[in-house]
Symmetry: C2
Subunit: 251 residues, 2 copies
DNA sequence: TAGTGGTCTAGACCACTGC
DNA sequence: CAGTGGTCTAGACCACTAG
């Protein structure tokens, strides 16, 4: 097979180049680009390995390696005998990919949400810093509470750039925001980084969570990144952990 | 190639069996067994892909797939042009695989330890539960404090079964316990599960951490598992998070 | 039964390391 | 330069799904 099949453009394989970029990596990037550009919608089926291989002019094994990598990154789902699909993030399994609070004892641990406030404003210094925004950027701030198995446990403020989510302030927000981000704005949350601290619950949050002030609480500071690794959401959650915990699995 | 190369024992490929077990999975299990049995020591080089393939009577590609899986599980390290090595857990990178506390600002974040107490005792109900021990089992309890960049930040109690770690109470304990587990007792920590809660620092811990009682603290309850997924260590840590945080990356 | 992904093989060649 | 892991290919066959 001719390597020029993937392109002689910058980035194609050049044996003596300092930065060697394997073919399957180039295929990975091309497919990732299509996902980022929403060429294929979540839930939709992709062409078969053979079709993609023929289209891109590489072997099926090389396409397979790229598809496997995208699957490992949770961007695709492969089902033997059926096909390869764009991953959806609103099914029960996917919710817990980014929601790590679990009940201590029994219970499904399925979270529910109630929006307390939503407003647009100029981004403050913290928001500009965390979301890599320009000085003039505007954000939408969403404040909401969440419950686990009907039990109020969390209050959080979510900041997103207006530029990326135009009109989000006027929408009816679902329980799982990330599926809305994907379906309505074409933004897929690929990874997130959380910083956890133990704090004393501030008076205002104590009122909203209906507990006495001074209670210890878990503060979660999350930045969520899209497929191109850009920060697209900043979220600060304050959680009561009396009857629940944050689950972290180390591998 | 004859499939019987990997063995006609139970678990070998049987095309019509209900539970189909791929060849590379069998190779994975065989190599995992050798790692668990400490046939190859941490840091030691493995035979080359070709040698393993010849020995096991499978193709090099199949061995490669098994080695890649073991590498993904952080049990092996592969270095192009050099070879495949058993992973070590005492280098700087590996320390942070299981230690998720980071300084808020600058600093290396390299932890240090000081053992406060170490004693053997009959396992209590919690320990028997968490470590899946019999009623008569005994454990060693280690209490120690840890500091980040010279700053005292954590106190923890570690319980391990005496049966798995004979004589550990008499040893000089290093900063990174898991490398001791591997080198001295042949036990490799493969995964760990942590449950985090926000609590009010108890009086006793407050004294040992040299802060006032009532300070909020992060409580981390960890169970660590070995290569065969047996719980081998229970650890409860209480951390001050005033100038540091727990880092969790979601993918 | 046709089509998909999953496994396995054999062989060629490339990139990297160390002697 | 020899030896290692890494990439890529082509082709055969297996397991699974759905019409």
């Amino acid at each position: 097979m001719e390597r020029s099949g993937v392109g002689t453009s910058p980035g194609a394989v050049r044996p003596d180049a300092v930065g060697f970029r394997p073919l399957y990596r180039q295929v990975y990037d091309m497919l990732l680009r299509r996902l980022a550009d929403a060429v294929w919608q979540p839930g939709q089926i992709l062409p078969s390995e053979g079709q993609l291989a023929a289209e891109l002019g590489v072997s099926q094994g090389t396409v397979r390696k790229a598809l496997d990598a995208l699957t490992a990154d949770s961007l695709l789902v492969r089902r033997q005998g059926r096909g390869t699909f764009v991953a959806e993030h609103d099914d029960k399994q996917s919710v817990f990919r980014f929601f790590k609070l679990r009940p201590d004892g029994e219970g499904t641990g399925m979270p529910t949400s109630r929006v307390a406030a939503i407003a647009e404003a100029a981004a403050n210094a913290d928001e500009r810093d965390r979301l890599a925004l320009a000085g003039s950027a505007r954000v939408v701030r969403i404040e909401r509470t969440r419950a686990l198995d009907g039990r109020l446990c969390l209050i959080e403020t979510i900041s997103v750039p207006v530029a990326l989510f135009p009109g989000i302030a006027g929408l009816d927000l679902p329980n799982t925001l990330y599926s809305l981000y994907a379906s309505r704005f074409g933004i897929t949350i690929a990874t997130a980084s959380e910083r956890l601290k133990a704090v004393v619950l501030p008076p205002r949050e104590a009122v909203l969570l209906e507990v006495e002030a001074g209670t210890p609480a878990l503060e979660i500071d999350r930045i969520a990144f899209d497929l191109e690794d850009r920060p697209v959401e900043w979220r600060r959650s304050t959680c009561l952990t009396e009857s629940l915990h944050y689950l972290s699995v180390l591998r």
